[in-house]
Protein backbone atom coordinates (compact mmCIF):
# COMPACT_ATOMS: atom_id res chain seq x y z
CA UNK A 1 0.00 0.00 0.00
CA UNK A 2 1.34 3.46 -0.89
CA UNK A 3 1.93 5.81 1.98
CA UNK A 4 -0.41 8.80 2.09
CA UNK A 5 0.58 12.29 0.94
CA UNK A 6 1.59 14.56 3.83
CA UNK A 7 1.08 18.33 3.67
CA UNK A 8 1.98 20.53 6.64
CA UNK A 9 0.76 24.11 7.07
CA UNK A 10 3.28 26.09 9.13
CA UNK A 11 2.78 29.45 10.80
CA UNK A 12 4.77 31.81 13.01
CA UNK A 13 2.19 31.86 15.82
CA UNK A 14 -1.37 31.03 16.80
CA UNK A 15 -3.96 32.98 14.88
CA UNK A 16 -2.25 33.31 11.48
CA UNK A 17 -4.94 31.11 9.92
CA UNK A 18 -3.47 27.62 9.68
CA UNK A 19 -6.58 25.79 10.87
CA UNK A 20 -8.73 27.98 8.66
CA UNK A 21 -6.55 27.16 5.66
CA UNK A 22 -6.61 23.45 6.52
CA UNK A 23 -10.40 23.46 6.56
CA UNK A 24 -10.54 25.45 3.32
CA UNK A 25 -8.32 22.87 1.66
CA UNK A 26 -10.53 20.10 3.07
CA UNK A 27 -13.65 21.70 1.66
CA UNK A 28 -12.05 22.24 -1.73
CA UNK A 29 -10.95 18.59 -1.82
CA UNK A 30 -14.48 17.54 -0.89
CA UNK A 31 -15.92 19.72 -3.67
CA UNK A 32 -13.60 17.93 -6.07
CA UNK A 33 -15.15 14.63 -5.01
CA UNK A 34 -12.60 13.43 -2.49
CA UNK A 35 -13.62 11.64 0.69
CA UNK A 36 -12.51 14.02 3.48
CA UNK A 37 -12.85 13.76 7.25
CA UNK A 38 -11.73 15.89 10.17
CA UNK A 39 -9.53 13.63 12.28
CA UNK A 40 -9.00 16.29 14.88
CA UNK A 41 -9.84 19.97 15.01
CA UNK A 42 -8.93 22.59 17.59
CA UNK A 43 -11.72 25.14 17.02
CA UNK A 44 -10.21 27.41 19.74
CA UNK A 45 -13.73 28.81 20.17
CA UNK A 46 -13.31 30.76 16.93
CA UNK A 47 -16.70 31.08 15.23
CA UNK A 48 -15.23 31.56 11.72
CA UNK A 49 -13.28 28.32 12.07
CA UNK A 50 -16.25 26.40 13.40
CA UNK A 51 -18.40 27.65 10.50
CA UNK A 52 -15.86 26.45 7.96
CA UNK A 53 -15.84 22.99 9.52
CA UNK A 54 -19.57 22.76 9.01
CA UNK A 55 -20.35 20.19 6.34
CA UNK A 56 -17.15 18.20 6.81
CA UNK A 57 -17.50 14.82 8.48
CA UNK A 58 -15.87 14.72 11.90
CA UNK A 59 -14.54 11.46 13.28
CA UNK A 60 -15.77 11.41 16.91
CA UNK A 61 -13.07 12.09 19.42
CA UNK A 62 -11.77 9.59 21.92
CA UNK A 63 -12.68 10.53 25.47
CA UNK A 64 -9.93 9.65 27.95
CA UNK A 65 -9.34 10.68 31.50
CA UNK A 66 -6.27 11.82 33.32
CA UNK A 67 -6.93 11.74 37.06
CA UNK A 68 -10.09 13.77 37.45
CA UNK A 69 -9.59 15.47 34.12
CA UNK A 70 -11.50 14.38 31.02
CA UNK A 71 -9.46 14.75 27.85
CA UNK A 72 -10.46 14.58 24.19
CA UNK A 73 -8.00 13.04 21.78
CA UNK A 74 -8.10 12.05 18.14
CA UNK A 75 -9.49 8.54 17.80
CA UNK A 76 -6.65 7.16 15.74
CA UNK A 77 -8.14 3.70 15.20
CA UNK A 78 -11.47 5.19 14.16
CA UNK A 79 -9.80 7.43 11.58
CA UNK A 80 -7.84 4.52 10.11
CA UNK A 81 -10.91 2.26 10.16
CA UNK A 82 -12.98 4.94 8.41
CA UNK A 83 -10.40 4.95 5.56
CA UNK A 84 -11.05 8.40 4.07
CA UNK A 85 -8.92 9.65 1.21
CA UNK A 86 -7.89 12.72 3.18
CA UNK A 87 -7.80 13.36 6.94
CA UNK A 88 -7.43 16.83 8.44
CA UNK A 89 -5.46 16.71 11.69
CA UNK A 90 -4.78 19.93 13.59
CA UNK A 91 -1.73 20.68 15.78
CA UNK A 92 0.75 17.93 15.00
CA UNK A 93 3.03 18.83 17.95
CA UNK A 94 0.29 18.06 20.49
CA UNK A 95 1.16 15.64 23.31
CA UNK A 96 -1.35 12.79 23.51
CA UNK A 97 -2.96 11.70 26.77
CA UNK A 98 -1.01 9.05 28.66
CA UNK A 99 -3.63 6.37 28.05
CA UNK A 100 -3.31 6.53 24.24
CA UNK A 101 -0.78 4.35 22.44
CA UNK A 102 1.38 7.15 21.03
CA UNK A 103 3.05 9.95 22.94
CA UNK A 104 2.62 12.59 20.26
CA UNK A 105 0.09 13.43 17.58
CA UNK A 106 2.71 13.41 14.83
CA UNK A 107 3.14 9.69 15.62
CA UNK A 108 -0.60 9.22 15.17
CA UNK A 109 -0.32 10.98 11.82
CA UNK A 110 2.50 8.64 10.86
CA UNK A 111 0.17 5.67 11.34
CA UNK A 112 -2.56 7.35 9.30
CA UNK A 113 -0.11 7.98 6.46
CA UNK A 114 1.10 4.37 6.67
CA UNK A 115 -2.52 3.31 6.17
CA UNK A 116 -2.42 5.09 2.79
CA UNK A 117 -4.51 8.07 3.89
CA UNK A 118 -3.46 11.59 2.85
CA UNK A 119 -3.09 14.08 5.71
CA UNK A 120 -3.14 17.86 5.97
CA UNK A 121 -1.88 19.05 9.34
CA UNK A 122 -0.85 22.29 11.05
CA UNK A 123 1.91 23.46 13.37
CA UNK A 124 3.56 26.63 14.68
CA UNK A 125 7.26 27.08 14.07
CA UNK A 126 8.07 27.49 17.78
CA UNK A 127 7.44 23.78 18.25
CA UNK A 128 10.32 22.77 15.97
CA UNK A 129 12.86 20.96 18.12
CA UNK A 130 16.00 22.55 16.65
CA UNK A 131 14.62 26.04 17.22
CA UNK A 132 13.77 25.47 20.86
CA UNK A 133 16.73 27.44 22.25
CA UNK A 134 16.38 30.19 19.67
CA UNK A 135 12.70 30.59 20.49
CA UNK A 136 13.49 30.74 24.19
CA UNK A 137 16.10 33.43 23.60
CA UNK A 138 13.77 35.43 21.37
CA UNK A 139 10.57 35.19 23.36
CA UNK A 140 11.58 34.14 26.86
CA UNK A 141 9.12 31.25 26.52
CA UNK A 142 10.39 27.68 26.76
CA UNK A 143 8.17 25.61 24.48
CA UNK A 144 7.53 22.17 25.98
CA UNK A 145 5.69 20.52 23.12
CA UNK A 146 8.22 19.99 20.36
CA UNK A 147 8.43 17.87 17.25
CA UNK A 148 11.54 16.53 15.52
CA UNK A 149 12.89 18.33 12.46
CA UNK A 150 12.59 15.15 10.38
CA UNK A 151 8.80 15.62 10.37
CA UNK A 152 9.17 18.71 8.18
CA UNK A 153 11.94 17.12 6.17
CA UNK A 154 9.91 13.99 5.46
CA UNK A 155 6.65 15.75 4.64
CA UNK A 156 5.72 15.86 0.95
CA UNK A 157 4.80 19.52 1.15
CA UNK A 158 5.42 22.25 3.70
CA UNK A 159 3.36 25.38 3.19
CA UNK A 160 3.77 28.71 4.95
CA UNK A 161 0.64 30.39 6.23
CA UNK A 162 1.83 33.96 6.61
CA UNK A 163 0.45 37.12 8.13
CA UNK A 164 2.31 40.32 8.97
CA UNK A 165 2.85 41.04 12.69
CA UNK A 166 0.58 44.09 12.37
CA UNK A 167 -2.26 42.07 10.84
CA UNK A 168 -1.89 39.38 13.49
CA UNK A 169 -2.01 41.95 16.28
CA UNK A 170 -5.10 43.45 14.67
CA UNK A 171 -6.80 40.04 14.64
CA UNK A 172 -5.86 39.63 18.28
CA UNK A 173 -7.35 43.02 19.21
CA UNK A 174 -10.55 42.12 17.40
CA UNK A 175 -10.86 39.03 19.60
CA UNK A 176 -10.49 36.67 16.65
CA UNK A 177 -7.73 34.64 18.30
CA UNK A 178 -8.37 34.83 22.03
CA UNK A 179 -11.21 36.37 24.03
CA UNK A 180 -10.63 40.14 24.29
CA UNK A 181 -9.69 40.02 27.97
CA UNK A 182 -6.81 37.67 27.17
CA UNK A 183 -5.81 39.58 24.07
CA UNK A 184 -4.39 42.59 25.91
CA UNK A 185 -2.13 40.40 28.03
CA UNK A 186 -1.02 38.47 24.95
CA UNK A 187 -0.17 41.74 23.14
CA UNK A 188 2.14 42.70 25.99
CA UNK A 189 3.86 39.32 26.03
CA UNK A 190 4.20 36.72 23.33
CA UNK A 191 2.42 38.77 20.66
CA UNK A 192 4.70 41.80 20.94
CA UNK A 193 5.67 43.16 17.54
CA UNK A 194 9.38 42.44 18.00
CA UNK A 195 8.60 38.85 19.00
CA UNK A 196 6.33 38.33 16.03
CA UNK A 197 8.82 39.91 13.67
CA UNK A 198 11.58 37.61 14.88
CA UNK A 199 9.31 34.54 14.72
CA UNK A 200 8.26 35.45 11.21
CA UNK A 201 11.90 35.77 10.17
CA UNK A 202 12.58 32.36 11.72
CA UNK A 203 9.75 30.62 9.92
CA UNK A 204 10.66 32.23 6.60
CA UNK A 205 14.30 31.23 6.98
CA UNK A 206 13.40 27.70 8.06
CA UNK A 207 11.12 27.17 5.09
CA UNK A 208 13.63 28.73 2.70
CA UNK A 209 16.16 26.15 3.87
CA UNK A 210 13.55 23.44 3.46
CA UNK A 211 12.92 24.58 -0.11
CA UNK A 212 16.67 24.60 -0.74
CA UNK A 213 16.96 21.05 0.61
CA UNK A 214 14.14 19.86 -1.64
CA UNK A 215 15.43 21.67 -4.71
CA UNK A 216 17.83 19.04 -6.00
CA UNK A 217 16.55 15.64 -7.08
CA UNK A 218 18.87 12.94 -5.77
CA UNK A 219 19.12 11.15 -9.10
CA UNK A 220 21.13 13.91 -10.79
CA UNK A 221 24.87 13.52 -11.22
CA UNK A 222 26.17 15.78 -8.42
CA UNK A 223 28.26 18.21 -10.47
CA UNK A 224 25.56 18.53 -13.09
CA UNK A 225 23.10 19.98 -10.61
CA UNK A 226 21.57 23.14 -11.95
CA UNK A 227 21.99 26.05 -9.60
CA UNK A 228 19.13 28.53 -9.48
CA UNK A 229 21.62 31.29 -8.64
CA UNK A 230 25.28 31.66 -7.76
CA UNK A 231 26.59 29.89 -4.67
CA UNK A 232 30.06 30.49 -3.33
CA UNK A 233 32.24 27.91 -1.62
CA UNK A 234 35.06 29.60 0.33
CA UNK A 235 37.95 27.34 1.30
CA UNK A 236 39.44 28.27 4.61
CA UNK A 237 42.16 27.17 6.98
CA UNK A 238 42.61 28.01 10.65
CA UNK A 239 44.77 31.01 9.77
CA UNK A 240 44.29 34.78 9.94
CA UNK A 241 44.24 35.08 6.14
CA UNK A 242 40.99 33.10 6.06
CA UNK A 243 39.19 36.00 7.72
CA UNK A 244 39.93 37.98 4.59
CA UNK A 245 38.81 35.15 2.34
CA UNK A 246 35.44 35.13 4.10
CA UNK A 247 35.12 38.89 3.87
CA UNK A 248 36.04 38.86 0.18
CA UNK A 249 33.55 36.07 -0.46
CA UNK A 250 30.89 38.05 1.37
CA UNK A 251 31.52 41.17 -0.72
CA UNK A 252 31.29 39.17 -3.92
CA UNK A 253 28.16 37.45 -2.67
CA UNK A 254 26.51 40.85 -2.21
CA UNK A 255 27.09 41.63 -5.87
CA UNK A 256 26.09 38.17 -7.09
CA UNK A 257 23.17 37.83 -4.69
CA UNK A 258 24.69 34.50 -3.74
CA UNK A 259 24.69 32.22 -0.72
CA UNK A 260 28.07 31.35 0.76
CA UNK A 261 29.44 28.17 2.31
CA UNK A 262 32.79 28.12 4.07
CA UNK A 263 34.62 24.82 4.01
CA UNK A 264 37.51 23.68 6.15
CA UNK A 265 38.99 20.37 5.05
CA UNK A 266 40.50 18.82 8.12
CA UNK A 267 43.21 16.27 7.32
CA UNK A 268 42.24 12.84 8.68
CA UNK A 269 43.27 12.31 12.32
CA UNK A 270 44.50 15.91 12.50
CA UNK A 271 44.16 17.66 15.83
CA UNK A 272 44.31 21.46 15.53
CA UNK A 273 46.72 23.29 17.82
CA UNK A 274 45.38 25.63 20.47
CA UNK A 275 46.06 28.57 18.20
CA UNK A 276 44.30 26.92 15.28
CA UNK A 277 41.32 26.10 17.49
CA UNK A 278 41.08 29.78 18.40
CA UNK A 279 41.31 30.74 14.74
CA UNK A 280 38.59 28.26 13.86
CA UNK A 281 36.31 29.62 16.57
CA UNK A 282 36.88 33.17 15.28
CA UNK A 283 36.14 32.04 11.73
CA UNK A 284 32.95 30.36 12.86
CA UNK A 285 31.85 33.57 14.59
CA UNK A 286 32.61 35.66 11.53
CA UNK A 287 30.81 33.18 9.29
CA UNK A 288 27.79 33.36 11.53
CA UNK A 289 27.70 37.17 11.52
CA UNK A 290 28.14 37.26 7.76
CA UNK A 291 25.39 34.66 7.27
CA UNK A 292 27.82 32.09 5.90
CA UNK A 293 27.23 28.35 6.37
CA UNK A 294 30.29 26.78 8.00
CA UNK A 295 31.17 23.28 6.81
CA UNK A 296 33.88 20.94 7.98
CA UNK A 297 35.01 17.85 6.08
CA UNK A 298 37.59 15.20 6.84
CA UNK A 299 39.93 14.02 4.14
CA UNK A 300 43.44 13.83 2.81
CA UNK A 301 42.61 15.09 -0.64
CA UNK A 302 41.52 18.70 -0.68
CA UNK A 303 40.31 18.70 -4.28
CA UNK A 304 38.19 15.61 -3.75
CA UNK A 305 36.70 17.11 -0.58
CA UNK A 306 35.91 20.32 -2.45
CA UNK A 307 34.36 18.35 -5.28
CA UNK A 308 32.07 16.54 -2.84
CA UNK A 309 31.10 19.70 -0.95
CA UNK A 310 30.49 21.66 -4.16
CA UNK A 311 28.23 18.89 -5.44
CA UNK A 312 26.29 18.72 -2.16
CA UNK A 313 25.80 22.47 -1.91
CA UNK A 314 25.30 23.28 -5.58
CA UNK A 315 28.30 25.63 -5.55
CA UNK A 316 29.13 27.62 -8.66
CA UNK A 317 32.11 29.62 -7.45
CA UNK A 318 35.18 28.62 -5.42
CA UNK A 319 37.12 31.15 -3.35
CA UNK A 320 40.49 30.18 -1.95
CA UNK A 321 43.61 31.85 -0.60
CA UNK A 322 46.96 31.69 -2.33
CA UNK A 323 48.05 28.07 -1.96
CA UNK A 324 51.42 27.69 -0.29
CA UNK A 325 52.65 24.74 -2.26
CA UNK A 326 55.97 23.08 -2.00
CA UNK A 327 57.85 22.48 -5.18
CA UNK A 328 58.09 18.73 -4.58
CA UNK A 329 54.33 18.36 -4.26
CA UNK A 330 53.79 20.43 -7.36
CA UNK A 331 56.02 18.08 -9.33
CA UNK A 332 54.44 14.96 -7.85
CA UNK A 333 50.78 15.84 -8.16
CA UNK A 334 50.56 19.00 -10.18
CA UNK A 335 49.67 22.31 -8.55
CA UNK A 336 46.54 22.58 -6.48
CA UNK A 337 45.11 25.18 -8.82
CA UNK A 338 45.80 23.06 -11.90
CA UNK A 339 44.07 20.12 -10.27
CA UNK A 340 41.10 22.26 -9.31
CA UNK A 341 40.71 23.62 -12.81
CA UNK A 342 41.06 20.11 -14.24
CA UNK A 343 38.92 18.22 -11.74
CA UNK A 344 36.18 20.74 -10.97
CA UNK A 345 34.75 21.52 -14.39
CA UNK A 346 31.98 24.06 -14.48
CA UNK A 347 33.08 25.87 -11.33
CA UNK A 348 34.54 29.37 -11.39
CA UNK A 349 37.65 29.70 -9.24
CA UNK A 350 38.94 32.85 -7.63
CA UNK A 351 42.22 33.11 -5.73
CA UNK A 352 42.21 35.76 -3.01
CA UNK A 353 45.65 37.35 -2.85
CA UNK A 354 47.58 37.23 0.39
CA UNK A 355 48.23 40.91 0.99
CA UNK A 356 50.86 40.13 3.59
CA UNK A 357 53.06 38.94 0.73
CA UNK A 358 52.41 42.02 -1.39
CA UNK A 359 52.71 44.90 1.02
CA UNK A 360 56.12 46.46 1.48
CA UNK A 361 57.06 47.99 4.83
CA UNK A 362 57.31 51.73 4.66
Amino acid sequence: MDRGHYRILVGMAAGVGKTFRMLEEGRQAQQHGRDVVIGYLEPHDRPETAALADGLEVVPRLRTSHGELDLDEMDLDAVIERRPELALVDELAHTDAASTRNDKRYQDIDEILDAGIDVVSTVNIQHLESLNDAIFELTGVRVRETFPDRILEDADEVVLVDLSPEQLQERLREGKIYPKERAEVALQNFFRQDNLGALRELVLRELAEDVEARRQPASLEPLSKQAVGERILALIEPQPKSQRILRRAWRSAQRLNAEIDALWVRPAHYEPSEEETTQLAALRRLASILGIHFLEADGHDLVEAVRTAAADRGSTYIFLGTPDERRRTEILRGSLLSRMVRELPGLDIRVVADRAKKEVPE
Partner: protein
Protein backbone atom coordinates in the same frame (compact mmCIF):
# COMPACT_ATOMS: atom_id res chain seq x y z
CA UNK B 1 52.24 13.49 0.28
CA UNK B 2 48.68 14.66 0.52
CA UNK B 3 47.46 17.90 -0.92
CA UNK B 4 46.11 18.96 2.43
CA UNK B 5 49.50 18.57 4.01
CA UNK B 6 51.00 21.28 1.88
CA UNK B 7 48.05 23.52 2.62
CA UNK B 8 48.82 23.33 6.30
CA UNK B 9 51.66 25.72 5.79
CA UNK B 10 53.78 27.88 8.02
CA UNK B 11 51.83 30.34 10.07
CA UNK B 12 52.27 34.01 9.15
CA UNK B 13 52.80 35.13 12.69
CA UNK B 14 54.67 37.94 14.26
CA UNK B 15 58.01 36.76 15.60
CA UNK B 16 57.04 37.60 19.18
CA UNK B 17 53.59 35.98 18.99
CA UNK B 18 52.21 39.05 20.77
CA UNK B 19 48.79 40.42 19.84
CA UNK B 20 47.61 44.02 20.06
CA UNK B 21 43.85 44.49 20.04
CA UNK B 22 42.36 47.71 18.69
CA UNK B 23 38.58 47.56 19.06
CA UNK B 24 36.28 50.04 17.38
CA UNK B 25 32.62 50.48 16.65
CA UNK B 26 29.99 52.69 14.99
CA UNK B 27 31.57 52.74 11.58
CA UNK B 28 34.80 54.52 12.26
CA UNK B 29 38.28 54.27 13.68
CA UNK B 30 40.20 57.45 14.12
CA UNK B 31 43.26 57.43 11.82
CA UNK B 32 45.42 58.72 14.63
CA UNK B 33 44.35 55.86 16.87
CA UNK B 34 44.99 53.41 14.07
CA UNK B 35 48.39 54.92 13.39
CA UNK B 36 49.28 54.66 17.08
CA UNK B 37 48.08 51.07 17.29
CA UNK B 38 50.14 50.17 14.23
CA UNK B 39 53.22 51.79 15.75
CA UNK B 40 52.69 49.94 19.03
CA UNK B 41 52.28 46.64 17.18
CA UNK B 42 55.34 47.28 15.05
CA UNK B 43 57.46 48.29 18.05
CA UNK B 44 56.47 45.12 19.86
CA UNK B 45 56.78 42.95 16.76
CA UNK B 46 53.16 41.99 17.40
CA UNK B 47 50.14 41.05 15.31
CA UNK B 48 47.54 43.81 15.12
CA UNK B 49 43.98 42.62 15.77
CA UNK B 50 41.52 45.31 14.61
CA UNK B 51 38.12 44.26 15.92
CA UNK B 52 34.85 45.76 14.74
CA UNK B 53 32.27 45.50 17.51
CA UNK B 54 28.66 45.02 16.42
CA UNK B 55 25.83 45.73 18.82
CA UNK B 56 23.13 43.11 18.28
CA UNK B 57 19.59 44.17 19.27
CA UNK B 58 17.93 41.95 21.85
CA UNK B 59 15.39 40.54 19.42
CA UNK B 60 18.15 38.82 17.48
CA UNK B 61 20.38 35.97 18.50
CA UNK B 62 23.91 37.05 19.22
CA UNK B 63 25.24 35.15 16.24
CA UNK B 64 22.46 36.25 13.89
CA UNK B 65 23.60 37.59 10.51
CA UNK B 66 23.79 41.39 10.69
CA UNK B 67 23.90 42.45 7.07
CA UNK B 68 23.63 46.21 7.52
CA UNK B 69 26.33 46.47 10.15
CA UNK B 70 28.54 44.02 8.33
CA UNK B 71 28.25 46.18 5.22
CA UNK B 72 29.98 48.93 7.21
CA UNK B 73 32.43 46.68 9.03
CA UNK B 74 33.83 44.70 6.10
CA UNK B 75 35.18 47.56 3.94
CA UNK B 76 36.48 49.31 7.03
CA UNK B 77 38.36 46.22 8.17
CA UNK B 78 39.76 45.80 4.68
CA UNK B 79 41.04 49.38 4.81
CA UNK B 80 42.51 48.98 8.29
CA UNK B 81 44.16 45.72 7.26
CA UNK B 82 45.62 47.41 4.20
CA UNK B 83 47.06 50.24 6.28
CA UNK B 84 48.64 47.84 8.77
CA UNK B 85 50.13 45.60 6.11
CA UNK B 86 51.60 48.63 4.35
CA UNK B 87 53.36 49.36 7.60
CA UNK B 88 54.67 45.78 7.68
CA UNK B 89 52.49 44.75 10.62
CA UNK B 90 50.75 41.36 10.41
CA UNK B 91 46.98 41.57 10.85
CA UNK B 92 44.37 39.17 12.18
CA UNK B 93 41.07 41.06 11.94
CA UNK B 94 37.90 40.23 13.84
CA UNK B 95 34.20 41.08 13.87
CA UNK B 96 32.54 40.45 17.23
CA UNK B 97 28.97 40.87 18.41
CA UNK B 98 27.47 41.70 21.78
CA UNK B 99 24.52 43.40 23.37
CA UNK B 100 26.75 46.43 24.06
CA UNK B 101 30.24 47.34 22.86
CA UNK B 102 31.72 46.21 26.16
CA UNK B 103 29.80 42.92 26.02
CA UNK B 104 31.26 42.31 22.57
CA UNK B 105 34.72 43.13 23.90
CA UNK B 106 34.27 40.74 26.79
CA UNK B 107 33.20 37.96 24.43
CA UNK B 108 36.26 38.63 22.32
CA UNK B 109 38.83 38.51 25.07
CA UNK B 110 37.17 35.53 26.70
CA UNK B 111 37.79 33.65 23.46
CA UNK B 112 41.25 34.93 22.62
CA UNK B 113 44.45 36.14 24.23
CA UNK B 114 45.63 39.72 23.79
CA UNK B 115 48.84 41.20 25.15
CA UNK B 116 47.81 44.80 24.81
CA UNK B 117 44.60 46.69 24.14
CA UNK B 118 44.49 50.07 22.44
CA UNK B 119 41.12 51.69 23.04
CA UNK B 120 40.05 54.93 21.36
CA UNK B 121 38.48 57.62 23.54
CA UNK B 122 36.07 60.17 22.07
CA UNK B 123 37.83 62.92 20.15
CA UNK B 124 36.50 66.24 18.94
CA UNK B 125 33.64 67.00 16.57
CA UNK B 126 31.61 63.87 16.99
CA UNK B 127 34.29 61.21 17.01
CA UNK B 128 32.88 57.84 18.13
CA UNK B 129 35.50 56.44 20.48
CA UNK B 130 34.36 54.49 23.52
CA UNK B 131 32.21 56.45 25.95
CA UNK B 132 33.77 57.39 29.30
CA UNK B 133 31.75 54.70 31.12
CA UNK B 134 32.89 52.09 28.63
CA UNK B 135 36.50 53.17 28.98
CA UNK B 136 36.18 52.89 32.73
CA UNK B 137 34.77 49.39 32.33
CA UNK B 138 37.61 48.46 29.98
CA UNK B 139 40.21 49.68 32.44
CA UNK B 140 38.66 47.64 35.24
CA UNK B 141 38.05 44.43 33.29
CA UNK B 142 40.65 44.26 30.54
CA UNK B 143 42.78 41.14 30.86
CA UNK B 144 45.92 42.91 29.68
CA UNK B 145 47.72 46.21 29.60
CA UNK B 146 45.43 48.86 28.17
CA UNK B 147 46.25 52.05 26.39
CA UNK B 148 43.52 54.67 26.06
CA UNK B 149 44.13 57.02 23.17
CA UNK B 150 42.41 60.35 22.90
CA UNK B 151 42.79 61.78 19.40
CA UNK B 152 43.50 65.40 18.70
CA UNK B 153 40.18 67.11 19.47
CA UNK B 154 40.72 69.73 16.79
CA UNK B 155 40.68 67.23 13.92
CA UNK B 156 37.58 66.52 11.84
CA UNK B 157 36.18 63.04 12.24
CA UNK B 158 33.22 61.22 10.75
CA UNK B 159 33.92 58.80 7.98
CA UNK B 160 37.25 60.42 7.16
CA UNK B 161 39.28 57.33 7.95
CA UNK B 162 37.34 55.19 5.54
CA UNK B 163 37.76 57.81 2.81
CA UNK B 164 41.47 58.24 3.46
CA UNK B 165 42.20 54.57 3.62
CA UNK B 166 40.00 53.69 0.68
CA UNK B 167 41.94 56.27 -1.29
CA UNK B 168 45.21 54.47 -0.72
CA UNK B 169 43.73 50.94 -0.96
Amino acid sequence: MSVVTFWRHRRPRSASGRRVLVPFTAGELDPIVLDAAIRVARAEDATLVPAYLIVTPLEYKLDAPMQQQVAVAVPLLEAVEHAALRAGVPVDARVETGRTPTHALQRLWEAERFDRIVAPAPGGRGSHGFAPKELQWILVHAPSETLILRPDPTLARGARLARELEAVA
